[in-house]
Structure formats: structure tokens, C-alpha cells
């Protein structure tokens, strides 16, 4: 009876406190990781920019070649969907949002009468699609947390060879764009075929060179042929880095919310527990008082004062 409810509540508070410690630690880890991931994403920008600049200058120099990565299919029979998710959960809506966008791409492909081909990065998306009986054609894990260029190159090569072999006629890239710590957005981009060099150049972002006569070695075509695969890799690498930063930012936010909730729950439960304890004390006192009264009715009346005074003190405390 006495203290039963109190003990239960005390145990619950203890468990919520432990959970809070964990979510708090995860929040702090995610906070440091997001900064690092952000720096890496920023450090990767110059390369992507420069590659774009070179393509721009090539376009200005009039190099337009028939490269397999530029192949425009007359009829799209199979759409490749590259989806970048994370290996671990507890990142709020991060995974579900990007997976939903990828599933929409698959449905789009189907409604166009085309087949689909899923290229999945991260355990979460694999689990989702495997559970729903989608065919996953390529799966990579262990890279989304902290992607290296080597990882990006491996996946990009897989995708590029699928495209050049004609196994897919179009590839969409679904990832989470990192806008700022407070804002990330699921984005779908056309990955392959690459737009013609003119379009890449027009989208720009690179430094405009001195327009006009460039010298090329060995030849504009050879440069472009060597350059385009690198461009594909750099784009995927950029998307991977942004996704990693977004994952950590989302996790940080989710864990902060969890920590705040735990705090609130602890306050609420402690109040409840205090009330239960107070109730138990009051009940106990009432029992003593009534017991004493029962005895005191036979006894002398001054003995009642001895008992009642400490009782009053106890209730106030």
C-alpha cells in the first residue's frame, strides 16, 4: 500500500532520466558532426566549381561530342533512381522524406510505362524497399555517415556503367539538400544523361574564363571524354556530402526534441510522485491520529496535545 505508487513513479523517472542522458549525448554528437560535415561539403565546392568551369570553357571552345554519358534515349524504357538515405535511424523525418520522394519517382516511371531500377545508398532505404518487394539493383551501405570521394566514385561508376550499357535510359538522383543547419530539403535532380555541355555551362556557378581561344591537349574531345566521368563523380560526391550534413542536422534536431520531452516528462512525473508521497504521509498521519484519538478517548485529555503538534508540523513540511 504505502509508497507503492511512489516507488513505481520513482522507477519511471529514473528510466526517463537515463533516456534523456542518451538523447542528450546523441544530440551533442550530432551537433559536432553536422559542423564537420558542413565543412567537408564546403571544402568540396571548389572542385565541383572548377570542373564546371572547365566544361564551360570547353563549350565556349566549341567542343560538343558524342559521349555515352550524353546519350539521349528516344524512348525511356527504364529509369534509374539513386536514393541517398542513412544507415541509422533516430534522425526525425530525414529518411522517410527522402524515401517517399524516391518512391514517387518509381511511380512516375511506372505511369510513364517504364520500368525502374533502384540504386540505394543507406540501410534505411534498402529496408523500406526490400520490405515492400521492390527490386533493389544496387545497394551500398556504410558510406552515408561520412562519405569519401572513393565511395562516391564507386557508386558513380556503377550508375554510369548501367547508363552507358543501356540498362537504364535516365537516372534521377534523390537526396537531401543542405541549405542551412535549420533547413534541409529533399531534392530530385536529373543525374544522367548529362545535359549538353552548353547547358552545364549555362547553369554555371564556375568562374568565367577569358572567353575565346583555348588550347586543348590532347584535343577538346579527349579532354571532355576524360572530364565527364569526373563531373558525374563530383556531383554524386556533392550530393552525398550534403545528405550527410542533413542527416546529422536532422538527428540533432530530433534528439533535442527528445531531450526536451524527457525533461518535461520528468517534471510532470516528479510532481505526481511528490503528490503520491504526500498522500501516503497524510494517510499515515491520519491513521496515527485516529488511532491515538481512539486511545485518548479513554485517557486524559492533555495527551492529545503531545500528538497533534508534531502532526501539524509534519503536514506543513
Amino acid at each position: 500500500m504505502a509508497g507503492g505508487k511512489e516507488r513505481v513513479l520513482r522507477r519511471r523517472i529514473g528510466s526517463v532520466q537515463n533516456t534523456k542522458k542518451i538523447t542528450r549525448a546523441m544530440e551533442l554528437i550530432a551537433a559536432t558532426r553536422v559542423v564537420k560535415a558542413q565543412q567537408r561539403a564546403r571544402a568540396a565546392k571548389p572542385y565541383a566549381k572548377q570542373i564546371t568551369a572547365v566544361i564551360e570553357n570547353l563549350a565556349a571552345g566549341g567542343a560538343e561530342v558524342d559521349h555515352p554519358l550524353l546519350r539521349q534515349a528516344d524512348k525511356v524504357e527504364r529509369v534509374g533512381v539513386v536514393v541517398i538515405s542513412s544507415d541509422r535511424g533516430l534522425a526525425g523525418p530525414y529518411n522517410s522524406a527522402v524515401i517517399r520522394a524516391a518512391e514517387r519517382q518509381v511511380q512516375n516511371a511506372r505511369s510513364e510505362g517504364a520500368d525502374y531500377s533502384l540504386i540505394v545508398i543507406g540501410k534505411k532505404a534498402r529496408d523500406y524497399f526490400a520490405f515492400r518487394n521492390y527490386t533493389v539493383d544496387s545497394y551500398t551501405d556504410g558510406i552515408s555517415d561520412n562519405p569519401t570521394y572513393e565511395d562516391a566514385r564507386r557508386v558513380a561508376d556503377t550508375v554510369a556503367s548501367m547508363f552507358t550499357d543501356g540498362r537504364v535510359d535516365r537516372v534521377e538522383l534523390v537526396y537531401t539538400e543542405f541549405i542551412s543547419i535549420g533547413s534541409q530539403k529533399v531534392t530530385t535532380r536529373r543525374f544522367l544523361p548529362l545535359e549538353s555541355t552548353e547547358t552545364i555551362a549555362a547553369e554555371g556557378g564556375g568562374e568565367i574564363g577569358v572567353s575565346g581561344s583555348f588550347e586543348f591537349e590532347p584535343s577538346p574531345e579527349a579532354v571532355l571524354a576524360a572530364l565527364l566521368p569526373r563531373y558525374v563523380e563530383a556531383r554524386l560526391f556533392g550530393a552525398l556530402l550534403e545528405s550527410a550534413a542533413s542527416e546529422h542536422a536532422n538527428r540533432q534536431r530530433a534528439m533535442k526534441a527528445a531531450t526536451d520531452n524527457a525533461e518535461e516528462l520528468i517534471t510532470k512525473l516528479s510532481r505526481e510522485m511528490n503528490r503520491a508521497r504526500q498522500d501516503a504521509i497524510t494517510t499515515e498521519i491520519m491513521e496515527i491520529v485516529s488511532g491515538a484519538e481512539a486511545l485518548g478517548s479513554d485517557d486524559k485529555s492533555d495527551s492529545q496535545n503531545d500528538i497533534e503538534e508534531p502532526v501539524a508540523a509534519g503536514v506543513e513540511a
Binding site: 572542385y47 568551369a53 570521394y149 574564363g209 583555348f214 588550347e215 590532347p218 579527349a222
Partner: protein, 132 residues
Amino acid sequence: MTFQVELVSPEAISYSGEAEMVIARTLEGGDIAFQPGHVPFIGVLAVWSVDVIRPDGNRDTIAVHQGFVQVVGTRVSVLSDVSESSADIDVERARVAKGNAEAALATDRDDTESAGALARAELRLRVAGAEA
């Protein structure tokens, strides 16, 4: 007059500084040296070193495992997946890699992967100033 030289890898800008002259080796084209005022140039680099001659006359040698070089005005950018300065090179590892590649080539002459590995290992050893 000097150049602004940048070595850009996908992960970071790995080298940046002033230079009087930059020497690189392009695919098929052989060695080429750039000085300020060079005509705009884009080239594919071979597995070879890029030498940067600084204004004070010192020379930085960097191993570049393929990539591109772009010269525009007073800027030289070298884009490469892998570039290493002599301080970054693990001589022992390069020696071992060279031995392995040579052994693989001895059994299979057309092993292009091993040929590439051999070229990279030899370049590393040369840049690090260690003879095999």
C-alpha cells in the same frame, strides 16, 4: 609577374600559392611549362609530377595521379583526384606497391591495372626523392 596556383582535389584545396612557373606533363603531349601570360589552356594530365617554381626560386614537387590543368589569365588550377606532396608520401608503402606491381606484370604483361599501379608507385618514389 606571378601566377596564382591552386591544386584542387574533390575533398579540399590541397595546395595554393604563388608561382613563377608551373611545369606539368600532359597526356600524349609531353612536358609543358606555363609562365604568366600563357595562352588559355586546358589539358589532361598524365600520372606525373607537377612542379611549382615559387617566386623565391624554390621548387615544390607534387605527385599528381591524373587530372586536368586549366590556365586562365594569371591562374593555374590543377584538378586531380589524388595529389601528394613529398611529405605525404609513404616511401615504404610505395616500394612495396612497386614490387607487387612488377611481380604482377611479370606474369601478365597486359595487366593495365598493375601497369597503372607501377606508374603511380614510381612517381611517388621519384617525388619523395627516394630511388627504388
